[in-house]
């Protein structure tokens, strides 16, 4: 039995010994490197570009500008292809652009022998701009006379809404109390350790091979084909080990360009390896949100209505565009499903860096706003904020008010109760003086969230698995699902071992996804992989097991149905302690018997048509040093309902990483961009303040295990969710400590100074 055990990651040794190979570890003799020429203005048009001097520099192979690329626009978002034209991603990108839309936009690219020559060559390209006023805020972009960042867009890229549980104004009018407030979240960064990197080459005259650090190899193949106008089957995308993505690599960023360059240069291998600085400016960020919230609440503690009006800032290009705001509204709908809900969102272009997918895809922005107003509602009616949540959150058996889908598993109340015990909520609240006055004050905070286990029904959910019985009775499993550090390879090995009945150690996983050979799966995003892959792996494993038993039956003369596989042995189903034949014998026989058998394999491609909601909460105790405007987290706990926990150590790893990232979003990180020029100040890890190991406290983590029958092994999403609720929990704890409501992220000392000053604390 492998499920539920903390088996060692299948890639652990390869990674800690440095043997795991990442994109940059592959070198092809003669490989050229390329680097973008990035704009030094945020908004405008290139009037003149002269690359002749750069082209003459020794070691420069080529310089291409916006004049050299196709004028067919393409979309970059890592979404499955949509058969519905209305649901297509916005196509607003060219390989290189004359129209500059953010500080660092890509107007030309130099190809050279090495990176030093690239640096020199870039300085030799002469550029003259016609400058426009940078539109750096939502207000500026939406103002009547604002210039269109993309022609015909009105600077609005998308808009959506839903209303459930009645007309929101009517329900609010009937509530005992109505609260309203406005919350803002910041632009922040994924900060994966491995920067974006890709290379491409051609080993014949037709096929383009792209090796890339991507979360979405199959999608990347399709988009490269679309961007270059090349049939998709002629593109091969290979994903080696990858050093993190967090959504920034759920986007096609370098792949079309390296493919374009190798096509142009006769199939020579060409690599683009972004620097950290470029990665922070020129790839993807998290959408800043500006949310107006209203909550209707009755004095008995019933939440009757939530009205959410969100503006999302997508920056210079669509990327995932409005999908993020749309998904944020949908995934948070499961949290208070018995209240009337109204959600309306618009996504706006500005001249900021492009926002795309980032861990939890809009949910942190919306849940921050929801948990803030929920806290204010509890406060207003004088109810304990945990009790208020317990009274109103989702229960098993509730239905998604929009889709009508029933929540088959839901342990959120148990999560809240457990979190309360862990932090000793009642005891600490009773002991603490009200209205603290000293320079250093303590407070408790809570927040909770709902999320989803995939993207269905908005997008397709498909996964593929292929399992082969080897001659030595071990298995090879190959999936389309993509290991990006989250542990998916280990999880699928556990699943296959569990269902087939062989030791986990006997399962080998093909980690690399190569679109020429890997089964189809759209990739690692939306916390979907273990959930949707489970349904393919389970079915393939079941099928292979049946084939093994059938062959064993032929060999032993016992009907396959009377046999089972246990720990690598064929046993009597009725008396599993009785061994019939070893799996090794069966495997050899299947391969080498001259008359019967075959290589025993199973391959399943499966579409999941469910999307289980997943839940959890954060409890935190903070100490606020008022004169120093600083926050010290004394204790923090995340409690999750993610269904069956497949591998407890890896699951805790996800939670620790997610909570640390949540603390970072709550207290530390923000892209600092000049409002006048669009210049990005902190495109490096000195100035972009990721908390260090001394800043992140010990993180407590527990699971309330439920069983989710729509997945192969009872599991639900866990990858993204831990990041969602720490920021609002910290905000609520700061309020508890100081009496000051911080309504924007991040809550850095600079932000606290502003609020404390206004509140008269300083």
């Amino acid at each position: 039995m492998a499920i539920g055990k903390s088996v060692k990651r299948v890639d652990a040794v390869a990674k800690v010994t440095g043997r795991a190979r990442y994109t940059d570890d592959f070198y092809i003799p003669g490989m050229l490197v390329a680097k973008y020429l990035r704009s030094t203005i945020a908004h405008g048009r290139v009037k003149r570009i002269d690359s002749s001097k750069a082209k003459r520099l020794a070691g420069v192979e080529a310089v291409y500008t916006y004049e050299d690329v196709s004028q067919t626009k393409f979309a970059t978002a890592g979404h499955p292809y949509s058969l519905d034209p209305a649901h297509k991603d916005v196509e607003d990108r060219l390989l290189l652009t004359q129209h500059v839309r953010y500080w660092g936009d890509e107007i030309a690219i130099v190809v050279a022998e090495n990176s030093l020559i690239l640096q020199e060559a870039l300085k030799l390209v002469e550029v003259e701009y016609e400058e426009y006023e940078p539109l750096m805020t939502l207000e500026a972009s939406l103002s009547k006379d604002a210039r269109e960042i993309h022609a015909g867009s009105n600077n609005v890229i998308g808009e959506s809404q839903y209303t459930v549980g009645g007309k929101i104004e009517d329900v609010l009018a009937g509530a005992d109390i109505v609260l309203q407030n406005r919350y803002r979240t910041q632009m922040c960064q994924h900060c994966h350790i491995e920067n974006h990197i890709a290379y491409a080459y051609m080993d014949d005259l037709e096929h383009i091979v792209v090796v890339s650090s991507t979360q979405i190899p199959h999608i990347a193949r399709r988009i490269v084909g679309q961007a270059l106008g090349v049939p998709w089957g002629r593109i091969r995308v290979v994903k080696p080990y990858i050093g993190g993505g967090f959504g920034a690599k759920q986007d096609v960023i370098l792949e079309p360009m390296v493919a374009f360059l190798t096509l142009k240069l006769g199939g020579r291998p060409i690599k683009i390896d972004l620097s950290r600085e470029e990665c922070m400016i020129g790839t993807r960020t998290r959408h800043p949100f500006d949310v107006k919230m209203r909550a209707g609440v009755n004095r008995d503690g019933t939440l009757v209505a939530l009205d959410m009006e969100a503006l999302s800032n997508t920056g210079a290009y669509a990327s995932h565009g409005h999908s993020v705001a749309g998904a944020a509204g949908a995934k948070s709908r499961s949290l208070y499903p018995r209240a009337a809900l109204h959600y309306h969102a618009r996504t706006v272009y500005t001249n900021m860096p492009t926002a795309g997918a980032m861990r939890a895809y809009g949910a942190p922005q919306i849940i921050f706003s929801v948990d803030c107003i929920i806290e204010e509602a509890a406060h207003k009616i004088g109810m304990d904020p945990v009790e208020f949540r317990i009274k109103n959150v989702a229960l098993q058996g509730d239905v998604d008010p929009l889709t009508g889908e029933r929540f088959v598993s839901c342990g959120l109340i148990e999560c809240l109760q457990r979190g309360k015990e862990l932090i000793r909520w009642d005891e600490k609240r009773a002991a603490r003086p009200k209205n603290q006055t000293g320079p250093v004050r303590r407070g408790l905070g809570v927040a909770c969230f709902s999320y989803a286990s995939g993207t269905y029904p908005v997008c397709l959910e498909i996964a593929g698995a292929r399992i082969i019985l080897n001659q030595d009775a071990s298995l090879h499993i190959q999936v389309g699902a993509t290991e990006i550090g989250q542990g998916l390879d280990t999880i699928v090995a556990q699943m296959a071992a569990e269902t087939i009945g062989i030791p986990f150690e006997d399962v080998h996983v093909v980690s690399t996804q190569d679109t020429d050979v890997a089964p189809f799966d759209t990739g690692a995003y939306a916390s979907r992989q273990a959930y949707v892959a489970s349904n393919a792996v389970f079915r393939a494993a079941r099928e292979l097991k049946a084939k093994i038993l059938e062959h064993a039956g032929r060999e032993t003369g016992i009907l396959g149905g009377e046999l089972d596989i246990l720990n690598g042995e064929i046993v009597d189903r009725k008396d599993p302690s009785r061994k019939v034949v070893s799996l090794k014998e069966v495997a050899l026989d299947a391969y080498y018997d001259k008359e019967h058998g075959a290589q025993l394999t199973a391959e399943v491609s499966h579409k999941t048509r469910t999307n289980a909601p997943t839940f959890g909460c954060t409890f935190v105790e903070v100490e606020v040093d008022v004169p120093l405007c600083s926050v010290d987290i004394k204790e923090i706990y995340n409690v999750h309902d993610s269904g069956v926990i497949l591998n407890p150590v890896m699951a805790r790893g996800q939670v620790h990483g997610g909570v640390a990232m949540g603390i970072a979003a709550g207290l530390y990180e923000e892209m600092l961009i000049d409002r006048e020029s669009g210049y990005i100040y902190n495109n490096n890890f000195l100035d972009y303040k990721i908390p260090t190991v001394v800043d992140v406290p010990d993180i407590g983590c527990e699971f309330i295990e439920t069983y989710e029958p729509t997945s192969g092994y009872g599991n639900k999403a866990l990858g993204e969710p831990p990041i969602i609720s720490p920021p609002p929990a910290i905000r609520n704890a700061i309020w508890d400590a100081t009496g000051v409501k911080i309504n924007e992220l991040p809550m850095t000392p600079h932000t606290l100074f502003k609020y404390f000053k206004k509140a008269g604390l300083l």
């Binding site: 640096q119 020199e120 120093l628 000049d674 000195l686 260090t692 600079h750 300083l762």
Partner: protein
């Protein structure tokens, strides 16, 4: 890859001076934790390097016969911080140094490099100017000495000619004997960060009287500075809560922080005033004083 055009290595002070003289464009590199960052950013003025990292005669901590402490500028931060002499006599310097970067940076970065880089946030500068440290500079015509405080001329500007090299950092016995100190670095995170404000206080307490106190700040002005007016105002006063309040109030007149994208002037002033209170208090407690 770093784009430098020439690289020479010196094994002695005299050779370093000679190599600098030979190439007017040359720049010294020691631990490289500042210079390599600048090279990485493509700053052209660092294309010619004279490497002084291995000049053994500049790598030491010592106490001479008079009891003066002398630090070789090429001593890396880790060695300065861990030096038994430093820890015994001027632990405030160890405290400050251990807030710099992370262990890897401190193993490479040198104390002289930190001072000669001349940035207002240099964490080793405030404890040293609070200790009235002096520096020795050597050039082709011999050596000269000056107070460290006067060495800082402006942001990234120090009193060092092109072919001069810092050869010693000295804290005389009179300046540390009987003195106790405290340092606090206020930054946006607990490690790997530059100071938003750095603060060092060094004081002497006798019979509950603050007989001497020297207070220094980083990032509170274009250079690391001493708060002379505040020091003069409170020298000789009896220790009390009121004294700390008065220091905190007075210190804002000694500083001139600016607004930058990293922090606003008003915010820095808030931190400066708070730190005056807290850092001086801790220094007094370290000196055996009591605060009612």
């Amino acid at each position: 890859m770093f784009n430098f055009k020439s690289y020479t290595k010196a094994d002695s002070i005299q050779e370093a001076i000679r190599l600098l003289k030979q190439n007017p464009e040359a720049h010294l590199i020691a631990g490289g934790t500042d210079v390599l960052v600048k090279l990485h950013k493509g700053k052209g003025q660092f294309h010619h390097l004279v490497d002084i990292h291995d000049i053994a005669e500049l790598n030491f901590t010592d106490r001479n016969d008079d009891g003066d402490l002398i630090i070789g500028p090429l001593t890396c931060f880790t060695h300065v911080a861990e030096s038994p002499l430093i820890r015994k006599h001027i632990p405030v310097l160890s405290e400050a140094i251990l807030t710099i970067g992370g262990p890897q940076v401190r193993n490479m970065a040198t104390i002289g490099g930190n001072l000669c880089n001349g940035v207002p946030s240099a964490d080793s500068a405030t404890p040293l100017i609070a200790l009235n440290a002096g520096v020795t500079i050597e050039g082709q015509d011999g050596s000269r000495q000056l107070p460290l405080e006067d060495f800082f001329l402006g942001p990234s500007r120090v009193d060092l000619e092109h072919h001069e090299i810092m050869t010693a950092i000295t804290v005389t016995r009179a300046n540390y004997d009987g003195y106790y100190g405290h340092f606090f670095k206020y930054a946006m995170r607990g490690a790997m960060d530059i100071a938003t404000i750095g603060c060092s206080a060094v004081c002497k307490v006798e019979d509950e009287i603050l007989t001497d106190m020297r207070l220094a700040y980083g990032v509170a002005a274009p250079v690391p500075i001493r708060c002379r007016d505040t020091e003069n105002k409170i020298r000789g006063r009896k220790i009390s809560q009121q004294l700390l309040d008065d220091i905190s109030e007075a210190v804002v007149n000694d500083v001139s922080p600016r607004t930058s994208w990293r922090a606003a002037r008003e915010f820095r002033l808030q931190i400066i005033a708070t730190l005056a209170h807290r850092v001086v208090k801790q220094a007094i407690l370290n000196a055996g004083g009591t605060i009612q």
